[in-house]
Symmetry: D2
Subunit: 307 residues, 4 copies
């Protein structure tokens, strides 16, 4: 298993053309921009990367384009998100074939189950691959929380290499950091909550997976660097700025959930000249001109667009 991933690892937002094909040029532009900013890894096919909106062919296309563009400069993690074990194992095999450096899997979902099924799920995935497996804790999507003791046990046994925590449960994350250290479980612990990265770093997180890092990768890298040198005042001030920037997610008052959040990232990236369109996958509508106006205002207020 490769060395643990540390630092800023944005979940790559997927640009589409107007007719909903993969916009490979925009993708390459965005990846290059994040690499230039100094990100430490890239997470393709995450929730923000519209993995669950994609056919298998589209998943392959996105991952393959990402791996080729990144060309080994940083590790590429691949989301293998699906409902239950057999499909996740299929995606894992494809990810390995296409050159991913690690895979990221959630707890099983849709069918109801308990911790026994969660554990068996991760064990079966890990047994099927040579790649490091990251557990993606995202109860808002899968409606199940990965327990601290389960994660630490799977880490100590080498089943999983790390955790992407998007649980919104900072109390549990705090315990996870400490238990990981106590048990020497070796988990790379990454937070997925882009507006509270400062607290996660202070608590001992190994990195972050900020969706907003597609829009402002340099900000998140500055914040990481400040944390590395112990300048917590700077870490927190950068967070304040990024938290204000995150208000783009409320720009489209007609949208909810994915259409509001990832929709606003796409709108911002279009306004910044990185993406060509802000098209969204079916059944989600692209943001309109009113939302785009608000996004521009926020980008301007935070110094990312000329006034």
């Amino acid at each position: 298993m490769s060395a643990a991933i540390r630092g800023v690892v944005p979940p790559v937002v997927t640009p589409l053309t107007e007719d909903r094909e993969l916009d490979r040029e925009s993708l390459e532009r965005s990846l290059e921009r994040m690499l230039d900013a100094g990100v430490h890894g890239l997470f393709a096919l995450g929730s923000s990367g519209e993995v669950v909106f994609s056919t298998d062919a589209r998943r392959d296309e996105i991952l393959s384009a990402t791996v080729q563009a990144v060309a080994g400069r940083v590790p590429v993690l691949a989301g293998v998100i699906d409902m239950q074990t057999e499909r996740v194992i299929e995606h894992t095999r494809r990810a390995a074939d296409l050159g991913a450096d690690a895979v990221v899997a959630t707890a099983p979902f849709y069918a109801l189950g308990g911790e026994r099924e969660m554990e068996e799920h991760f064990r079966a995935i890990a047994a099927s691959t040579e790649l490091p497996v990251y557990a993606y804790d995202i109860p808002v999507c899968v409606h199940r929380k990965l327990g601290v003791e389960l994660l630490v046990r799977l880490g100590a046994e080498g089943v999983i290499a790390g955790v992407k925590d998007s649980s919104g449960d900072d109390v549990s994350f705090r315990q996870l950091v400490i238990r990981n250290r106590e048990e020497d479980a070796g988990l790379a612990l990454l937070t997925g909550h882009e507006v509270v990265v400062d607290g996660a770093y202070l608590a001992g997180a190994d990195g972050s997976v900020p969706g907003l890092g597609n829009v402002d990768p340099a900000g998140y890298v500055r914040q990481w660097d400040a944390a590395q040198r112990g300048d917590w005042q700077a870490v927190s001030e950068e967070q304040d700025r990024l938290t204000r920037l995150m208000r783009i997610a409320a720009a489209d008052v007609t949208a909810t959930g994915f259409g509001a959040g990832v929709g606003s990232f796409k709108t911002a990236l279009r306004e910044l000249g990185v993406f060509t369109t802000n098209q969204m996958p079916r059944p989600v509508a692209a943001q309109g001109e009113e939302a785009a106006r608000r996004v521009r205002e926020i980008l301007t207020a935070e110094g990312m667009l000329g006034a």
Copy 2:
């Protein structure tokens, strides 16, 4: 669009061999037993049919075996359950190719969204196929409830042909029955809650989709026939018996959710000589001997097994 489906339409439980291959012989035996009992339709690849545990190849295998075995004697509905629109459309195309008579789709899930996305989702699915589309309302799995007005509107416009209601919300179902009639929306309204079918029929449901109907198809058919002739006392007494039989779902005290419910259907079908094994798909464990003993007790108490 074909005529609306009425009556008892069991969601077909999928038998596996010990090494988790499709057990085609057991499947055919079970289908034949349900057809003999007089069921009015069969729903392949439903939640109970382990659709979300299946690869695409396995989905094809199950549906194709079912369609061939049924051979047109009753309509076969096919579950096309997946996270978002594009994948559901892929499954819908396969279902049509393999000879299904209708498809059954849930609201989109995993990614967060609102009613706008639900509506667009069903419209896109319907636009992609000639087959009738049934909306599957199952918030316990997708964590979203399909609204009465949305369903009635989609019905009136011919987007959907019916609803399989597994919402557990009998208040909403009651309103749906009345609104469907008032708006002449033409929806076939089927309840998925096997222990309260009597109330649903009295309220005006067009049929039921009882998982327990795999175990006791004759009971559900008797109940339907009693309802058709207005013998409500018999409808309710049959329900009492079926509700007691449903206690097999609590037989495995070590299991939760799918492993407890569908697991017990498989155990019962094995004890009844219909299935060869009670094997479950990964990551779910098959029920053990202790659970099987309890299942036999319940089957015996309800007169389905000799003492």
Copy 3:
């Protein structure tokens, strides 16, 4: 313990004057109207009776006025709803002093707990009083479900006399009816869901506690009588009418929850000449003229107001 309560037992809606005093005349008019219609009991200080909006003095005032007006013609149940045991016991003592025939208590709420605390709660209440205790199962308010086995055990031991089920879980209610019979637990099982009373009666419920019964007590009594004589067609048709009438709860599009539901009952009762105002307790706003217009339309459509 007095004989079990059977039949229609409306939860009494509390009329207020414009300055939010108890409108005793309207209350007496409403009680008399329900008694004239033939209701079999009355439930004062229920959720619809604004018990949680009332000071202790107001609780006493409402219960005392109700007991005096009813004057023994039917049993009066008194809600003793509060957060934890000691306060519920205080309310129980007051209810006994003021002449209630039974008390109705929910599971403890606000502080988190488990089944152990629920059981001890009901045992402590019962130990404190000679009055029969009814368990009020209302997870939408207390965020906890009373388990079937707990209720049956408490019934068999004589701790509780019955259950008012407002759980919205018809599957669980169905099991409760059967288990109560099997264990001879003697619980009076009343449903609180006014739009699915037909199914509950068919399943074997001993009665109903319909908030809408304040508006149309005669309808619910007709329905009960039809059920007693086994005329299920009539039971269901009456339910259809009552379910349409229940749409008054959606008349105020600016309101949610209590303000929408009980607010519309008050508006309807004012339009019917029973209440003098539709005033609501703080912090809830009374419904406005637009909502009242819609309520009148619905009352007219269902034949309760002249066109």
Copy 4:
């Protein structure tokens, strides 16, 4: 309105005698211990202070004993927690009479409502008193989240003086800190999550309300002092220790919720010689010897008890 409260403000745990009377001596001992440690305020009748388990007489007894013992050395905040407005106003009046320096109120609960009712609730409370009103955001108990914009608006208008955030939603808290500053709303923002206080301070919280601060007030004061001088490494290390100490909340494996958390604080305080018993209010059971043994182990491991 008095100056805003800053620093460490433990919610005072209430000691009981074996027969569930207020143990005034233990209470005074505990208050004195917290004052000696340098806490900046004390919050009586909070959730941890068993406010919802208390009769009105008991509430008065607790608050009055606390105010007298504290004797003006630090501000005393009083919980006025109850279901709806009228009762909260009654408690507020009593709190003022008994000498509290501020009151703390949650959103209304039990009856369903929306933001309109929440806003009116806080306005009515504030209009009824001269005391500063703190909003207590605790969705785990009241099942409603106070919105950032509502809080900031009520702060800017002087309706509320601060917020005790026990929402578990660090993303929302981060936005609240920034919006409070941007709008100059003047809210004192206190976090109630004892294991993530470090992140909250770094984000700009004005203080903390740690239940665990009853057990280790000196630790929380040291942490606050470190934050004041910008020594974030020390803030975080102290948090690590306190987070490990918080494991006492899992010591009683037979308990859940309040009985597990506050139960363990009482057990720890007894083991530390501060409380005489670890008795709990009905319907909650006191922790047994097995739990006490685990609590002692944890206290010993963290250096609070001699080995």
